[in-house]
Amino acid sequence: MSAARQYLEFERPIAEVEAKIEELSRLSESAGPGAFDAEIASLRGKVEQLRREAYAHLDPWQKTQVARHPERPHFVDYVAELVEDFVELRGDRKFADDASIIGGLGRFRGLPVVVIGHEKGHDTTTRLQHNFGMGRPEGYRKAVRLMDLAEQFAIPVVTFVDTAGAYPGVGAEERGQGEAIARSTERGLTLGSPMVATITGEGGSGGALALAAANKVLILEHSIYSVISPEAGSSILFRDRAQAPHMAAAMKITAQDLIGFGIVDRIVPEPPGGAHSDRAAAIAAVGDAVEEELRALLPLTPDELRRQRAERFYAIGRSGAALAQLKKAKR
């Protein structure tokens, strides 16, 4: 992966040191093995330190970029690592199959699960195939269908949220994009099975919420969850997309902001250089957190699960004192 490694803007100092390491490694081939070992080791240490420092203090706009990092683990990666015997189930039984939202059956840490999530794709072909993770009505209707199935067979639902938002297209509108999203949100809220959602990358607006109306909503440390993308918000409020970094900060889209509002329940820590720097560790951490949350929900009856979900969402924003305190702290 290091050859094709993609660096974000703020990672430039890291990129420079890594380039030096590569150069020294190349030189050591001609100069004899081990010639620059000491230098390389020291530079590696420096890279580690730079990465740690950068990722410990990401601002909301930098987090937005990390959340969208092309090498960040995607739905297919989580499923491959965490779900055994995965059988993909396709189609909404009404019109089509939408590959931007994938779902199916499998076993997760010994539990039967229906797993659903957005898939952005990892190269041009797969990105087009999955429509960049931007769901169409059929994707949300498939999600509803799979949640029905989960309830029918008393199987927990695990979702992975990673979307810039639902797809804004003529066909999507024609086939009731708004209704499809609303129904998917509704299905999550009314589900008689335990449901745990994890925002693994971008939680973009209603298209994200449609898969996150869960008992517990987890979020990776550098993921974001927002009502509108910073770019789109900027173009509306500033008539200029260039104010996106400002919007990212103003809209309080980071995991660390959201947990204070009760919008997310748990932050899953990422490896020191972000989830993309150590994908296996990130995926395992998500697996552990989801398992723990899911197991805690298993004893609840369908009615208790519905009540817990209702209480969870109704409570958001209701505590005026807590909000006032948060607001003060943010300023």
Binding site: Q177, S226, G317, K330
Partner: protein, 316 residues
């Protein structure tokens, strides 16, 4: 707000240029400026006598437009506020106003080109209301109902914490009183200035609808111009019955966003009420004057089911 675009339909009282200046303003202003402000706001002052038709540019005599419930001769259903909506919906214009719950202003300390608190203050002043929604309880052709109305004039009708709590309160009131809920939607979408807290209103309002369902109370949506964004992706599309006023823009993504995505001009009539009727997303497109009758017909039948279930309906 996210998708708010077409503002052309808003009733725009024209400037005084084409109408005579009120001669009485001088003496009244000298004696009691406060009184003059009150008088000036009255609908029948000369400044407001003519309204520009947004389609033809013709001047429409305001009393005529009012008599036509703000439907222009060309049939455009102009945007109206909460007060008129209640007046047109409830029998004799009589209703009990239910105050939406207070919420924390500006939970994020949000600033774009101006602080959100300033935008809120300006909207409150201009609209004379606390936020974009109002709740009323009254009779629609004899059928008691709770009516929830969204006002596009207040920050694009946007769904924030106030509108969300307002909707929840409307649904709770309906359940408490055993009455159906009718929601007149109008919004550009979610209120960006409240970040993900506004997004959460989509889930919270959806929960409130479940309470109505459990109580077997009808929930009727009347989609008015415009209803887009997060509102369309939540309570506006979850009605037992969907009605729409003619020509209303209704969609998830705003037309401009779609055009930018597909780089094509959109077909005429796209995302209008009639288009949604054809595509199966609304049950009926109902002209404004016919709404109370249509609502009462639907509510009457749906509410009879409850009676039947209770065995209270006496069959002849």
């Amino acid at each position: 707000m996210a998708a708010a675009e077409d503002l052309s339909g808003k009733p725009q009282p024209v400037s005084a240029e084409r109408t005579p200046k009120p001669k009485s303003s001088g003496w009244l202003a000298r004696i009691a400026p406060g009184v003059r402000n009150l008088v000036a706001r009255r609908a029948d002052t000369p400044e407001n006598l003519w309204v520009k038709d947004p389609d033809t540019g013709d001047m429409i005599y305001r009393p005529d437009l009012e008599a036509a419930l703000w439907v222009t001769p060309a049939g455009r259903h102009m945007r109206i506020g909460t007060e008129l909506r209640f007046r047109y919906t409830f029998d004799g214009g009589q209703f009990e106003a239910i105050k939406p719950p207070a919420v924390v202003d500006d939970p994020l300390g949000f600033v774009d080109q101006k602080p959100y608190t300033e935008r809120l203050a300006a909207s409150r002043k201009a609209n004379g209301s606390q936020d974009a929604v109002a709740i009323g309880y009254g009779r629609i052709r004899d059928i008691p109902a709770v009516v929830f109305v969204q006002d596009f004039a207040f920050m694009g009708g946007s769904l924030g914490m106030a509108a969300g709590e307002g909707f929840i309160c409307a649904a709770e009131t309906a359940v408490k009183r055993g009455a159906p809920l009718v929601a007149f939607t109008a919004a550009g979408g979610a209120r960006m200035q409240e970040g993900a807290l506004s997004l959460m209103q989509m889930a919270r309002t959806t929960l409130a609808i479940q309470d109505l369902k459990r109580a077997r109370l009808p929930y009727i949506v009347v989609l008015t111009d415009p209803t887009t964004g997060g509102v369309t992706a939540s309570y506006a599309m979850l009605g037992d019955v969907h009605l729409a006023e003619p020509g209303a823009l209704i969609g998830f993504a705003g037309p401009r966003v779609i055009e930018q995505t597909i780089r094509e001009t959109l077909p005429p009539g796209f995302q209008r009420s009639e288009y949604l009727l054809e595509k199966g997303m609304v049950d009926r497109v109902v002209p404004r004057p016919e709404l109370p009758e249509t609502l009462s017909q639907i509510l009457g039948v749906l509410m009879m089911g409850r009676e039947l279930q209770r065995g209270r309906l006496q069959t002849a």
